[in-house]
Amino acid sequence: MKDPVTGRYVEMTVQGKHYRIYYESAGQGVPLVCLHTAGADSRQYQELLRNRELLSRFQVIAFDLPFHGRSMPPKEWWLEPYRLTTDLYVEFIMTFLQTADIEEPLMLGCSMGGNITLELAYRFPEKFRGVIALEAAAATGGRLNDYLFHPQINGGEMCATNVYGLMAPQSPEHLRRDVWWIYSQGAPGVYYGDISFYSEDWNATDRVGKIDTSQCPVFLFTGEYDYSCSPEMSRRTAALIPGAEFHVMKTMGHFPMSENPDLLMEYLRPVLDKLC
């Protein structure tokens, strides 16, 4: 059976550093750009990239951030610790979209990828059809700790176990174990560097209220089993954004697109119909 997914690279420069960025795409139609979570990569979207319903209407695209998956770090990465920031993350995304010739996409992001879609909607509402933020909030503190990047601890096991319990027990076990597997494969310090963004650098409570949802509609979905970004945290954020919609996903955890893609589609379908 021929698989619908194609993988390729784009070359781009961000803040004076050169990157070769890997991305996968499938389907035709409105670009739906998917952002992976901290310490993971585009494999988290492997089910959505093969979802026939989505592929009939969307070009589903998922790329690996630098340092993640098949996107290598820049030259001289060994001279300083990897730390993601709000500005750097935005620049990575906008440069990727421009370099890959993706115009007016619908953005879908999860966790730190969901958080940053709120920033995108705030800074560039005219450039997006809308944003769908999964497991996201204007601030998501309390997740950074030194055990994630420590020479006396197996980082693969630590990072993977740190996220495994964020998923719903109702989600199929083999899909939850895939999430564990992807997390176990991140390079040392990369999940830590992402979490320093997610948990410390990221705080948009002062500006999410200024998002123009008439230009760029905002939808938030959060799983009831997520304790990293709880439904209450997302609900409070949605309440700050005039016109934003928020839904709690029952029997879902922190990785909807990976742990239970079929159930996620049930929640996404009405929004996709509305937006495109």
């Binding site: 309390g142 055990y147 420590h150 006396q152 601890i153 197996n154 096991e157 630590m158 993977a160 176990t161 740190n162 495994y164 319990g165 964020l166 719903a168 027990p169 109702q170 009831e224 089993y225 304790y227």
Partner: protein
């Protein structure tokens, strides 16, 4: 057959010990897990002596005993954790000790994190033991 033992009683702990020691996954992932830890369930305190991933004994600690770390919580919290489908916030060991005020992980946390993969698996097996709650 339903387990009629009172959950978290000494007899129940012995069953839990056997389930842990027969677990196929732990038999290979916990090979290097050697430590002593306490599991506190409300007022009840149990000391787990683990060697090479096998729980050698579960006893009430005496003045002569020391341990590496302790997992502490109320009986109500652990009863929720032990349900076949625990409610949100009560499903994950790390989640409980980092987000719930009634649960804690104390002592040598570095050592606990070194074994977090096996420890998480081990504790999740309480759901396979069953038993009666108060």
């Amino acid at each position: 057959m339903a387990n009629s033992l009172h959950m978290f009683s000494p007899e129940w702990m012995e069953q839990f010990r056997q389930v842990v020691n027969e677990d196929r996954e732990l038999s290979w992932i916990a090979r290097w897990m050697t430590c002593d830890f306490v599991w506190r369930v409300g007022e009840a305190v149990y000391l787990f002596h683990v060697v090479g991933g096998k729980v050698i004994s579960v006893v009430a600690p005496t003045w002569n005993d020391s341990w590496d770390f302790a997992i502490e919580g109320t009986e109500e919290a652990w009863s929720k954790f032990a349900q076949p489908l625990p409610p949100p916030m009560y499903y994950d060991l790390l989640g409980m000790v980092t987000r719930l005020p009634e649960c804690r992980l104390t002592g040598n946390r570095l050592k606990a994190m070194q074994h977090i993969r096996s420890l998480t698996r081990m504790m999740s097996l309480v759901r396979e033991v069953g038993g009666e709650t108060r």
